[in-house]
């Protein structure tokens, strides 16, 4: 296709490349700025004109951050909550996804309609009563309170149903004739076949929970139960810390963002493909 007129196609290819490279510089600039600022000394952080590359790399922002914020604890809280939310979604969404895709039962189409409807409801609509409910259940300031409302999302059901539709019915019928129960079929036959979908759902759910902010902000008062974004936002909006904390804040953001960016760079296929598939199917 491109061999016919090499001169023209080379020209056609150069322009997009230039534009994309310029765009990429803009996209990366805030991250690069954050990374460099994390390692700058206080005078270099507030220098004008700015010092772009630190002349003296320092870890003092990170040590100050750890003095002021119990980052390991918030990190642990985020990991616990995100892990439990992910496990819940993998199990419960797959179960319903299997029922919707492969079991013929009264009420199935109504439940599927419910799932599709739930996809469109904005999360903010539930916050107020959810707070009252969690307060009555004594679940504020607990991990359970942060996990339960997100333990089975409609998106996961939709994703798993779409993938499970492609499992051949003959395979399930054969197992049934051999006397296998539905749980056995689900757990031993269907789940292994949809592993790529499970991986996609796991990554997307973990990420969503990791970055979740509004509910953890509302449901935690005790700083010991803060997740990373809540701790960072609370510190960033604390008027007592407003001055001269840019270095600490950049170090904090760096620690929140870096693991996600690294995982994303390695597993990017799952992110983008899963997202596009789920959206378009």
């Amino acid at each position: 296709m491109t061999t016919a007129r090499p001169g023209k196609s080379r020209h056609n290819r150069a322009l997009p490349l230039v534009l994309l490279s310029a765009g990429l510089v803009v996209m990366a600039a805030p991250f690069v700025w954050m990374g460099l600022a994390s390692f700058k000394t206080a005078p270099e952080l507030s220098a004008s004109p700015p010092v772009w590359i630190p002349t003296e790399w320092t870890l003092e922002n990170f040590s100050e951050l750890l003095d002021k914020l119990d980052m390991p604890l918030y990190f642990l809280n985020s990991v616990i909550v995100a892990t439990l939310v992910t496990v819940g979604n993998l199990l419960f969404c797959s179960m319903l996804g299997y029922a919707l895709a492969k079991l013929n039962f009264a009420g199935r189409s109504q439940i599927f309609a419910l799932v599709l409807g739930a996809l469109m409801v904005p999360g903010n609509l539930m916050l107020l009563p959810l707070f009252v409910l969690m307060s009555r259940m004594q679940l504020l300031d607990t991990h359970a309170g942060l996990v339960l409302p997100f333990a089975a999302g409609a998106f996961g059901v939709f994703l798993m149903r779409q993938f499970m539709l492609s499992v051949p019915d003959e395979m399930l019928e054969a197992a049934r004739i051999d006397g296998a129960g539905e749980w056995f079929i689900f757990w031993r036959i269907v789940m292994p076949l949809v592993k790529p979908a499970l991986a996609t759902l796991a990554i997307l759910t973990f990420l969503q929970s990791w970055n979740n902010f509004v509910w953890p902000l509302i449901a935690t008062n005790d700083p010991d139960k803060y997740t990373l974004p809540v701790a960072l936002a609370t510190f960033a909006t604390d008027p007592n810390q407003a001055d001269g904390s840019n270095g600490v804040l950049m170090a904090g953001s760096f620690l929140v963002v870096l693991p996600v960016l690294l995982v994303f760079a390695v597993l990017q296929r799952y992110f983008t493909q899963g997202f596009a598939t789920a959206g378009l199917k």
């Binding site: 994309l20 996209m27 004008s48 029922a99 009264a106 936002a233 950049m250 960016l261």
Partner: protein, 321 residues
């Protein structure tokens, strides 16, 4: 989507019938799994009912009461006040400002996000092979990062004293405006940040959509002498319409709920110029515990979201016929 669903259902129920006419009665009973179906559905349904369906109805109920802090421990003593919360809302200048600001954010942010996402996708689809993954990762990276962390970073980037923009301005002998401290510039700054963060989502959707356009169509248009712009206008955009529709709907819903950006970067200021509906609702509900009033806000926002979504589906879909 609905057609494939019914097809699948049809084949799965018709499947066993003709293959084994002798065991028909037994088979058709075996093809129905009422008990298993409901058992597999139960965990999701219980969580859904408790943490979604019930709260959605409770928000509606609360919006007709004077639900306040004392009702958190005693919910049923809240007093019924009819439509008072709703009538007060539309006289509340703060809320009207929040509605306006949210509309501003959506009206400027959505077209920019969709437009730039589409442009990046088209550029990536124009014959770059080797660098493709690299660029895709780069443009998508902000989507996966925490909005809070990103907002904290952008606040510093936009800092008029020692931020990135101020530094660039100083290099060329200019002074940077105080982006987040100015009533005129604060909202545009939040919009630029939102576009930066979300265009990767649109890009990924558009790349998937572009790859579904048959190359024959493009080649035919080129043979007919179409230039790059004509090809974009007459081939790419019309054939991408379903993708763009979907991207527009999800971006609009996300932007109507905008919360973290003003919460971290401006706290709604200066003088409420970046106060959004979600932020106003959060404050009324969880800072002042005017929970009945905040519930009414939540429902107004919900109705607006549903209305706009339905409108977009209608408007953009009919054009394809």
């Amino acid at each position: 989507m609905s057609t494939t669903t019914t097809d699948r259902v049809a084949t799965s129920t018709a499947g066993p019938g003709p293959s084994a006419p002798a065991g028909r009665a037994r088979r058709s009973r075996a093809g129905v799994h009422h008990l298993a179906g409901w058992l597999f559905s139960t965990p999701f349904l219980v969580l859904f009912a408790t943490f979604m369906a019930m709260p959605i109805l409770a928000t509606l109920a609360m919006s007709f009461t004077d639900f306040g802090l004392r009702n958190v421990t005693d919910p049923f003593s809240a007093e019924f006040t009819g439509f008072e919360n709703y009538t007060r809302l539309f006289e509340d200048e703060k809320f009207l400002a929040a509605l306006f600001n949210t509309a501003y954010f959506v009206a400027a942010g959505v077209p920019l996000t969709i437009g730039l996402g589409l442009v990046v996708a088209v550029l990536l689809n124009s014959g770059i092979d080797r660098m493709r993954t690299f660029f895709r990762v780069g443009f998508y990276a902000p989507v996966v990062t925490s909005i809070v962390a990103v907002a904290v970073v952008w606040r510093f980037v936009l800092d008029p004293g020692d931020g990135l923009i101020a530094g660039l301005a100083a290099e060329v002998g200019l002074t940077s405006p105080d982006f987040l401290g100015s009533e005129a510039l604060a909202m545009p700054s939040l919009i630029v940040m939102a576009v930066w963060r979300n265009l990767g989502t649109v890009m990924v959707l558009c790349i998937a959509g572009l790859q579904a356009i048959p190359t024959e169509v493009r080649e035919a248009s080129r043979l007919d002498g179409a230039g790059a712009w004509q090809e974009f206008r007459r081939i790419t955009v019309p054939l991408l319409r379903p993708t763009l529709l979907y991207a527009t709907v999800i971006t609009t819903i996300g932007y109507l709920n905008v919360f973290e950006e003003p919460f971290v970067m401006t706290q709604g200021g200066p003088s409420d110029s970046t106060l959004t509906v979600s932020l106003d609702m959060y404050r009324e509900g969880f800072s002042y515990f005017h929970m009945g009033y905040a519930s009414a806000m939540a429902y107004v926002l919900f109705v607006v979201i549903m209305g706009i979504t339905v409108l977009q589906l209608r408007l953009l879909k009919d054009n394809t016929k």
